[in-house]
Symmetry: D2
Amino acid sequence: MNAPDDVSGLKALICSGTLAPAEIVAVIGKTEGNGGANDFTRALATRALADLIADATDSTRAEILERVLMIWSGGCEGVLSPHATVFTHTPATEAAPGKTLVLGLARTRAILPEEIGTIAQARLTAEAVRKAMANAGLSAAEDVHYVQIKGPLLTPGRIADADARGAPLVSRDGNLSKPLARGILALGVAQGLGEVAEADLVQENVLADMGLFSRVASTSVGGEVDCVEVALMGNAEGGGSRFRIGHGMLASVVDADGIRAAHDDAGGGAIAAIFAKAEPAARVLGLRTTMMSDADVHAERHARAALSAVIAATTGRTAVFISGGTEHQCPEGAAPIAIICEV
Amino acid sequence: MNAPDDVSGLKALICSGTLAPAEIVAVIGKTEGNGGANDFTRALATRALADLIADATDSTRAEILERVLMIWSGGCEGVLSPHATVFTHTPATEAAPGKTLVLGLARTRAILPEEIGTIAQARLTAEAVRKAMANAGLSAAEDVHYVQIKGPLLTPGRIADADARGAPLVSRDGNLSKPLARGILALGVAQGLGEVAEADLVQENVLADMGLFSRVASTSVGGEVDCVEVALMGNAEGGGSRFRIGHGMLASVVDADGIRAAHDDAGGGAIAAIFAKAEPAARVLGLRTTMMSDADVHAERHARAALSAVIAATTGRTAVFISGGTEHQCPEGAAPIAIICEV
Amino acid sequence: MNAPDDVSGLKALICSGTLAPAEIVAVIGKTEGNGGANDFTRALATRALADLIADATDSTRAEILERVLMIWSGGCEGVLSPHATVFTHTPATEAAPGKTLVLGLARTRAILPEEIGTIAQARLTAEAVRKAMANAGLSAAEDVHYVQIKGPLLTPGRIADADARGAPLVSRDGNLSKPLARGILALGVAQGLGEVAEADLVQENVLADMGLFSRVASTSVGGEVDCVEVALMGNAEGGGSRFRIGHGMLASVVDADGIRAAHDDAGGGAIAAIFAKAEPAARVLGLRTTMMSDADVHAERHARAALSAVIAATTGRTAVFISGGTEHQCPEGAAPIAIICEV
Amino acid sequence: MNAPDDVSGLKALICSGTLAPAEIVAVIGKTEGNGGANDFTRALATRALADLIADATDSTRAEILERVLMIWSGGCEGVLSPHATVFTHTPATEAAPGKTLVLGLARTRAILPEEIGTIAQARLTAEAVRKAMANAGLSAAEDVHYVQIKGPLLTPGRIADADARGAPLVSRDGNLSKPLARGILALGVAQGLGEVAEADLVQENVLADMGLFSRVASTSVGGEVDCVEVALMGNAEGGGSRFRIGHGMLASVVDADGIRAAHDDAGGGAIAAIFAKAEPAARVLGLRTTMMSDADVHAERHARAALSAVIAATTGRTAVFISGGTEHQCPEGAAPIAIICEV
């Protein structure tokens, strides 16, 4: 994409008949904003893409936003290339043998500003994860390889709204509330998949007991959504697609072996998409980095830049979905990665 | 280094007798500033290190700055770790067989503000490069593998000085003049080593004919120096050290093969130091990046962040000297790299 | 506005009948991006506002963008508040006596990437300015107080387009080409209003002879427009509105007297809108500032932040249109300001 | 100052005999860093100035740092000009009648990393404030107009040190711990001057009960100091100087009247120095600003830029000490200001 509102690539696929717009069910992409609370490139991409699909399917934008799950992460640091991965639900024709990629979608009701970052939000998320599993036709948690979640962020507007109603907030700072909002979503996935016990899902464990985590969650937050949106991917017998998904864990932002292991877990075929998290670290390979103390460039931006380059050097791809913040999405210091390959 | 003025690491080496302070001849390091015209971390590191060596050798700071060449590059993006590589001239004891690492130093007279970025500066640089070759005991240009140069930048103070004298400047913007100042230094190296013809060294070719370049130059500019400083490295029979240097070319900031080739060129031993340039690019591996249009984070910072991570993933090192700007230091779009290994 | 796509304020005015959407002819506003080449908040605001007006007038977005001139400037530094000033053309009812505010609109054909920053673009601009004067019902240049112009910027996409056709560009750097693109637009205004002689309108004078300028131009550039758009304001007998416009000159970003003089020029009534330019300066009130050498925060952002605060302290308003870059829009070092007051 | 290590201005005053270097007791200045945890311009300025005074007084740097209190604030946004205000203790000659400016200095022992941000640090600060009052010859708290305090910040090195000893920290993020570290210092001043009751000085009130504050504190934190340093100013009968100090409160960063009131409180004479705090605000004059949600430019930088311009427009000065963060230094949302005038 040449800009957040450049949808010419998808338009060409639609016009050439390569892709049926009515079959689009989800879009996951990167936009070139700063990735912070004032990154409006996600909203612009959502609007542009929804308008394109609406035009192509004779629908309204509102109908598309209801039907198609769109998850954008802002921040194209290092060698990251702005792009979108478009998921379609196509009637199976000549599906690959064995388990193949399936995708399940779900969303919660609108989250109130005062619920952002709370266990209430985690429970709503867990419920949506279970719905998405059913929607994907998956019954075993071990067949789930990637759960991409997007949830709301505390924006000045939402803070004002809560203030007007006298509702207490977990934070008054949009940027500072991001780790909390992401962590809560991950705990919701973990509960939905049975990775954490019900008893451990209490507010005091949030961002505190980092031994609680999901191995397949990837959570983002942004001002442009007001509910929690879930795109759950796994492999199912008779999945009917020509793709397979695998996942793994990155020990650091320079862990090329972790990237290769995730690729192997997906079967080692030609890569179709990569989804990863980048975790800032005060030390990498034993030496101090300056990510954490840099007041000009946010630590997440340093981390995304680094991981983007290692993934590109390892896989040859720069159109990679890398978002920041791994709270409760892996053991502390690590980061999740999922790769979709051709079977 | 835990800060630009943290010299505790070198102090410990001196105190333990591992390193004789009087034998220090050059220091090349990275500091954690923004790498721009207002990056004063280089000046702070220079001052702190010079004071330490002065104390340890019963000299004044001025004497140390006269005797020891210090080259700092600001900007520790991605996984880069602030550090310094300290070069000493030690009486040979049990030197490795074959050609081994030698280092030659030289500097020009003070460059006037109005000379910065001009052919006059290139000629002075070429002269210093030839002096440094002689100083290193090298006579053949092909034995030269790395010429690190640091030259002055147009600072507000220097612009004011030139204005006061009515002297015309090549630019009035400190940040904008950096590419020009770096390119001129590289052309100086190229002439000094016979890589460009005398006839081609004219002002209109600067930043215009990018086919003119040195294969071993690495140039930086900063407000803290007023002359051009040269640290030239190569391998010489009877060099008397236990290190060997090699060099290579990076096709992009994600060129892991280029890193490995430079390592091989140095003999493939345990790596002691890496010096590389990172070149921003509007496209990497065929897709658009956003480095060039990012108004918040300078393109050089994206590029350094990316290359730092690929070098770390390839070599296991984060204490790497990566600076920005490859003007006339390699074919356009590429970047130079040099590696020092144990023999 | 609570975000670039927050059009709830205008929607409320439309719903309450305060403002007839079909009467909207122009919108000038500030959005909260970084103001650089990768600031997409302008595109988002344009899209959101056009969609609102289209819905309210049963038109398409394309029709609205054809009919309503929208000029956004990115960058809300200091105390600036994101907002839009909406101009309507309303049948006169009980107009104020004397000369009152009139607005004329015009636009050029699409500017080719290779025309950006050239005299050809200036001539097209001058022609559009004369059309806008006629459109406003003004015949004397001295009745023109403010000409807001928006023109295209060199984006990666446009650079690629020109490259594909082998067309030469004035610059290959989107951010660096901004001063040139703004200067050319101002020279176009100056020629259209007879402020510069035809003979002076030559390429070598652009950004060089700063004695050539318009006293009423305010030019912006952005990636989201491809033609030059002109909103020209003045006062005309029988103008039929209850507003009057005046203009002045700011000697620096802290020139409170200049702000007051422009207010007086507009009649001194209750202020309805303020349009100003902020000019970065290496020295303010005789002492050095650090705007020009700051590699983290662009000089224009420092300047807008400063002027926003002085205007707020002087007039009580933070919803002010302040854009950056005064090339050929005033004597060097100064900046233009225009104020609309109630009669 | 043309750079953080440019001490030529002070050197000239010393060389010309205008100022006796041995009489220097304190320096308060602004440097042109980013004002964040990785701003090393303060350390550089301290080192350069201490070296100058040491040379001029035949002392060591360590002796100067022991004897002269140096407080630097990083971040010269807007129109701020890097500078230093140098305080000397000169034998009274022809002092002005009435109460005139006196300065008292004190410092605490080194603060442990685990004490930063705790009540223990506040108590040590209170004690130092009382010592500084005595040192200034002041006995009544109402004669105290300005207490400039500098305390340590949690740096990566200090965090590592505490970790090595297993000592718990109030925060692990250098930038995030700044508000807490500043708030604790202000509560220390408030207790030292009797502005808050002993019973209120408990950890749960820190950054929570914002009704607790000092009216004359101005606190900064930085990585370059390890103890709390106090410079307390007031007016005393027989003070013996030709200056007088006054203070006031700024309702917002655009409160020109507040600036004028502080000037009046100081007697209204020719201004010699201004010390103020800038408080970021989500709303200014009733409308939303974007300071708080800006992920590129820190809110404090927006606020300092704005206030610098209003002070310059009101007083004609750009060499102003404006630092960020008003925690417990005034009623919430306001900011303190102090002005020194000639009598």
